[in-house]
């Protein structure tokens, strides 16, 4: 009883009052903005493109250290989320290794989670999730026969042309699948950010999962409002996925 407060257990039909409150709540707009920026920057731009770049390097022959690279990326993906959050909270802290690595570039040491919290969680999420895109694109690139590239090279295609006219059309469908999955996963990220700074000072990193958790499980336990926000987000996410699926059908070879 103490956990949820007595409001939640005595039902009363209030119509759309919670939803009306939601669309007039600046905090909710903040969380919407953060969630989508977070997904766009860390997943769609960060993870997908870094994963593709790594997969293309892994495909090159005669390069030493490829397995070390893929193992490092893979490790970041599989370590338990709580541990990842704990590690990153320290790593990005004032005395953390991040500051030591950045110091040769003339960047003053600072506590990144306080001074640039949103940028930090974006980078942390790129670190965390790139492995999936890497594995996916490695598999796709392996399925493209090498002789196509050799033929193109004989015909005088430049590196960029080879990517634009051979690789890209062949991976377009995989790219869509990758986008769908990493969008869903990134919008559902909770644990790592929560452990790193619990939504930030104020609400600097309050992505929607943390928004819902804070409203529902911290005083004053506004469970019904949190549920309304959760439902709303679920519908939005569902619509985005429908759009993606339409696109994916279009580019399927």
């Amino acid at each position: 009883m103490t956990l949820v407060g007595e409001h939640a257990l005595s039902y009363e039909f209030i119509g759309l009052r919670n939803y009306i409150k939601l669309i007039t709540d600046p905090d909710f707009y903040n969380t919407l903005k953060l969630s989508f920026l977070f997904t766009a920057l860390s997943a769609l731009i960060g993870q997908a493109f870094l994963g593709l770049a790594i997969a293309m390097v892994l495909r090159k022959k005669g390069i030493v250290g490829k397995s070390l690279l893929s193992l490092a990326v893979f490790l970041a993906w599989i370590v338990p989320e709580v541990v990842a959050g704990y590690m990153w909270a320290i790593f990005a802290g004032k005395g953390g290794l991040m500051n030591i690595l950045l110091s040769p570039f003339g960047i003053e040491p600072r506590n990144w989670l306080f001074e640039a919290p949103f940028e930090t969680i974006i980078i942390a999420n790129i670190w965390r999730g790139t492995a999936f895109s890497m594995i996916l694109f490695t598999a796709v690139l392996e399925s493209i026969p090498q002789y196509i590239y050799e033929a193109a090279e004989i015909d005088g295609a430049t590196g960029w042309q080879r990517f634009r006219y051979i690789t890209f059309p062949l991976i377009a469908y995989a790219l869509m699948i990758d986008f769908i999955l990493i969008t869903i996963w990134t919008l559902n990220v909770f644990t790592m950010i929560f452990v790193m700074n619990g939504g930030g000072l104020g609400n600097a990193t309050e992505i929607w999962t943390i928004f819902v958790y804070r409203r529902a499980f911290l005083p004053p336990y506004d469970v019904s409002y949190a549920s309304a926000a959760a439902n709303m987000m679920f519908i939005i996410v569902f619509l985005i996925i429908l759009v993606y699926v339409k696109f994916a059908e279009k580019v399927r070879w």
């Binding site: 090159k60 490092a72 320290i90 987000m233």
Partner: protein, 296 residues
């Protein structure tokens, strides 16, 4: 004569240029790779170093002496007031994850078998419902679950936690099991039934035996999913002595006052090892699963 010499010079020049460009591209690739390796490995370094550092603190440093006292101290209570031993959290995690993994494996094998061996109405719908359930964000589900649990008295119990975690992991287990059973030829089973085994015996001695690698994978992957689960135990369990290791780390690091970084790092390492081992063992299977999404 002169022409030929000139041509030779041109060819040499051209080869030189091509070689130079090749070296340059190699240099760029190696630079890119080393930056990435540093980026992906550096967050781990502090975790590993501080677990062996007698004077561990959030400040990064290379310890002068090394110790295993933090690992030994996992068997001692966290403090005089907070009598929970970190190792108890690991034991809790083992109890929860083993139960969840076993239940998920049993249920997904038992439901995947009829789904692949019989034809009945609504077969596809069942699978689709499961896939959709998998897409549902946990945060959306967690609030109603807590409300229901408060009403029926399952809050703060392992029974409740294990039931929810099983439900949330089951779709994933079922999808793997369904794919695996579909790929197993029916003929072995039918041959065994012609030879006089009952369907149940044929399932038990033939199909299960053949599906053993798949079943092991389901068990291992559900185990690590449950092992890493954080949100559900966080909201369902309220007593620190009941926490699994994931919530334990958060509670110890984020909520509880006096922080012993060395001991938390040691604990995090012990907690991560099973997950890392399972994934390294199932890495090839995972890669093949991901490849199956996009190649035919």
């Amino acid at each position: 004569m002169l022409k030929a010499l000139k041509k030779e010079g041109e060819v040499k020049e051209k080869t030189k240029e091509i070689m130079l460009r090749k070296y340059l591209s190699y240099a760029i690739i190696y630079l890119f790779m080393s930056v990435l390796i540093v980026f992906f490995l550096s967050p781990f370094t502090w975790l590993v170093l501080s677990a062996f550092d007698p004077k561990a603190s959030p400040n990064f440093r290379i310890p002068e002496t090394y110790t295993i006292k933090w690992f030994v101290m996992l068997f001692e209570p966290i403090s005089a007031y907070f009598r929970v031993r970190p190792i108890d959290w690991i034991i809790n995690s083992i109890i929860i994850s083993t139960s969840v993994a076993t239940l998920v494996t049993l249920l997904s094998v038992m439901s995947a078998y009829p789904l692949t061996r019989f034809q009945f109405k609504g077969q596809k719908a069942i699978l689709n419902i499961f896939v959709t359930l998998r897409l549902l964000p946990l945060v959306v589900v967690v609030i109603p679950i807590v409300l229901i649990f408060v009403k029926i008295g399952l809050m703060n119990t392992y029974l409740g936690l294990i039931l929810v975690m099983t439900t949330m992991t089951l779709p994933f287990g079922l999808l793997i099991a369904e794919g695996y059973f579909r790929a197993l030829p029916k003929e072995y089973e039918e041959a065994a039934m012609v030879d006089g085994l009952s369907r149940w015996e044929a399932f038990l001695y033939i199909t299960l035996r053949l599906a053993l690698p798949g079943i092991t994978t389901i068990w291992l992957l559900s185990f690590v999913t449950a092992w890493g689960e954080f949100l559900l135990p966080l909201v369902i369990l309220r007593r620190p002595s009941l926490y699994p290791a994931s919530v334990g780390i958060y509670y110890w690091f984020g909520v509880y006052g006096r922080v012993e970084y060395g001991r938390i790092s040691a604990f995090s390492i012990v907690y991560s090892i099973p997950v890392i081992l399972v994934f390294l063992f199932t890495r090839r299977y995972l890669t093949r699963g991901v490849a199956g999404l996009v190649t035919r």
